[in-house]
């Protein structure tokens, strides 16, 4: 779970990490009042759950009261398109208004879990303010990576090394305090990432976390209720959210073939095999190991709601779940949800024959495929045909109207 910057700063500040004075606001007037309270100049920062805000124009400095009004009016309700959001962008609904920092130097400091070593790892650089990917590309020698043993935690010698490499000799005590506190947050809040970029050394020689990012492990939210409460659902895709509540894994894609699969790996593979056959998957959907009539019905509902879907592919490997049970689930679900498109079914594994028999006896029309290759080819062709039929009837209608 990603936290907004203002939420992350709230948490960090609770651990004694210095952050700029500021407040989150929801209306332009509100932003103006907060700015006047803080004193100018201020920085107005879009609170959206995506990276690359600065470059996309979501972070602005305001020096005069009029500028504050102007910037706030401009940013609220604006669609922010960053390289992470894709062209659809995200609407700015909240602005963090902060006292502008008196920046001397900008550093980079983060803690994450390195998948290669399975250890928490500090990544730091004296080149802050730009993305760490950019630093890695241009100045790889300026990146410091320190793995931390989870048993001992961050050790004094590691902090000393950071002090010298980041040139923080004058801020020695403050730096040790910030680094230790950040590691504490990382562990105590079950973070997968805490990132200060930039961590600023002010002109007066103090450390200040001017930007903060915090990602918390979804699997640990059961024991981090205080973080769980901070979840902002306004930026989630409604269908993805609905799926999540129903216990399904759903990710929307841009194609026209709806996919329903059990198991994450097989679901990904189903997308791949459709693409290889010349089709375009409309989604990733893992109905999980259980695949009950309820989850299948929910899956149908979510998939068919998307108007671009022209054909559907149900791919079930009966491992724990038996194929005849899944087939029953499909038939029951189709009684509840209307599906006006060709449906290709491929069932294999436990009780496959019984499952196929159940589908045939139902009187409903399915395209039945023996294997993955055949099924993908079938559904790709059907999606093209349906698409062509729709276009043809549209054209005919248009021709009629013209006459």
């Amino acid at each position: 779970m990603k936290l907004h910057e203002y939420q992350a700063k709230e948490v960090l500040s609770g651990y004694g990490i210095p952050v700029p004075e500021g407040r989150v606001t929801y209306f332009p007037d509100d932003a103006w009042m907060v700015a006047m309270e803080l004193g100018l100049p201020v920085v107005l920062k879009a609170q959206v759950l995506t990276g690359g805000r600065g470059k996309a124009g979501g972070v602005k400095l305001a020096r005069t009261p009029d500028e504050v009004k102007e910037v706030a009016k401009d940013l609220f309700g604006k669609k922010l398109v960053t390289k992470q959001t894709g062209p659809e962008g995200v609407i700015i609904r909240k602005l963090l208004v902060e006292k502008a920092a008196d920046i001397g130097r900008e550093l980079y400091f983060s803690i994450t879990i390195d998948r290669t070593t399975s250890k928490p790892t500090v990544v730091a650089s004296k080149r802050g303010g730009m993305s760490i990917e950019e630093v890695a590309e241009k100045y790889p020698e300026d990146i410091i990576k320190i793995p931390i043993d989870p048993v001992t935690g961050l050790l004094p010698y590691q902090i000393r090394r950071l002090k010298y490499d980041l040139e923080l000799v004058d801020q020695e005590k403050e730096a040790a305090k910030v680094f230790n506190a950040l590691y504490k947050v990382f562990v105590e809040k079950d973070c997968t990432l805490v990132e200060l970029n930039p961590l600023v050394v002010t002109k007066s020689g103090h450390l200040l976390a001017v930007d903060a990012k915090m990602d918390v492990d979804d699997d640990a939210l059961f024991r981090r209720k205080e973080i769980s409460k901070m979840r902002d659902l306004t930026e989630s895709d409604p269908s993805e959210l609905e799926a999540k509540i129903a216990g399904l894994n759903f990710v929307r894609l841009s194609g026209n073939i709806g996919c329903m699969v059990n198991g994450a790996g097989l679901a990904m593979t189903t997308m791949d095999v459709i693409k290889l056959a010349g089709g375009e998957p409309a989604n990733f959907l893992d109905v999980g190991g259980a695949a009950t009539p309820e989850t299948i019905a929910k899956g149908f509902e979510i998939i068919t709601r998307d108007p671009s879907v022209k054909a559907m592919f149900i791919n079930i490997f009966g491992g724990i779940v038996r194929c005849d049970k899944v087939a029953n689930g499909i038939i029951q679900a189709l009684k509840k949800v209307e599906v006006n498109m060709p449906v290709v079914v491929r069932l294999t594994g436990n009780n496959k024959e019984e499952g196929m028999e159940t589908l045939k006896k139902s009187g409903m029309r399915f395209y039945v495929a023996e294997n993955l290759k055949e099924a993908a080819k079938m559904v790709s062709e059907l999606s093209r045909e349906t698409e062509a039929d729709i276009n043809k009837s549209k054209q005919q209608k248009k021709d009629k109207e013209e006459k």
Binding site: Q84, I113, R115, T116, S118, K119, P120, E133, D149, P150, V151, V187, D190, T192, D217, D218, D219, A220, F222, R223, N249, V251, L253, V261, N262, G263, A264, G265, L266, A267, M268, T269, M271, D272, V273, I274, K275, L276, P281, F284, D286, F317, G318, G319, I320, T348, G349, N350, N371, L372, K373, E374, A376
Partner: protein, 294 residues
């Protein structure tokens, strides 16, 4: 032989009184696995499917001498369950549980590395040596004793591919799920080494997916000349969008790293038989092996 688990393996099931635990303990037993004990705190003295249940792993070990533990404990307590098995001297642990907090796994990983424990999973279907022993949740009937060693980060894909291998007239020596989480007990390299040494294994099948760099590391290892048997590979997720978690916690593309394309490239360079079409994995392996024998 097979690798890691054998007909003689004595299995303990942690979380045996739960719905999943009892169902699969029975299924493993029916497959022929020697399930010697179960553990659920507070349920000591009971029996599940004729298997004695103990309160602690220590007691189960003392009474029944298992050498493998199979874990179905819910995510908040699963890391502790793994450490309990390790603390009681069990050297092979298979953890099915999905959704263990990553910080818990950081600690587990540091302990198992020091203790020299083999942890299969977590978030995996388990491990099977067809015809000998099944320690996990996979449907036993799709596997057939044979010569291909199969390792996979995904459960259903392990089934799909093993099924294709069986249908192509081949069989498997041992099949296992490495696990779908960012931190798992073993990597491909660990299994590649075992399969290379195993006389029964003639070829290996790696089923990978997007995210992380385990496949790239395996490619490097193969390239170093350590593996002489033919290796086949398929990577799921070539069409996955970057930055999105595709079901598995570990299946996410970050920036340019972790893509299917970069994994395929590394594997191809290492001389691995890359199979990009998941519909023809079984037949491709059969064909290549046949050509090699001629």
């Amino acid at each position: 032989m097979a690798v890691c688990v054998y007909r003689t393996s004595r299995v303990l099931v942690q979380g045996i009184t739960g719905k999943e635990g009892s169902y699969h303990a029975k299924a493993c037993k029916e497959y022929g696995t020697k399930v010697v004990a179960g553990v659920t705190p507070g349920r000591g003295g009971q029996e599940v499917e004729g298997i004695p249940v103990f309160n602690t792993v220590e007691e189960a070990v003392r009474e029944t001498h298992p050498n493998v533990s199979l874990i179905f404990v819910p995510p908040p307590f699963a890391a502790d369950a793994i450490l309990e098995a390790v603390g009681s001297g069990i050297k092979t642990v298979v953890c099915i549980t999905e959704g263990i907090p990553i910080h818990d796994m950081v600690k587990v990983k540091s302990v198992i590395e020091k203790e020299g424990v083999t942890l299969v999973g977590p978030n995996c279907p388990g491990i099977i040596s067809p015809g000998a022993t099944k320690i996990g949740i996979m449907p036993g009937h799709i596997f057939k004793r044979g010569s291909v060693g199969v390792m996979s980060r995904s459960g259903t894909l392990l089934y799909e591919v093993s099924d294709q291998i069986t249908r192509a007239g081949l069989g498997q020596s041992t099949c296992l799920g490495i696990g779908g989480d960012p931190i798992v007990g073993t990597d491909y390299i660990y299994w590649l080494k075992l399969f290379e040494e195993d006389p029964e294994t003639e070829a290996m099948m790696m089923i990978g997916e997007i995210g992380g760099n385990a496949e790239e590391k395996a490619a490097e290892f193969i390239k170093s000349g350590a593996i002489t048997k033919p290796v086949f590979a398929f990577i799921a997720g070539r069409t996955a969008p970057p930055g999105r978690r595709m079901g598995h916690a570990g299946a996410i593309i970050m920036g340019k790293s972790g893509t299917a394309a970069s994994k395929y490239e590394a594997l191809r360079e290492a001389g691995v038989h890359v199979i990009e079409n998941p519909g023809i994995i079984g037949e491709t392996i059969a064909q290549v092996l046949k050509e090699k024998k001629l």
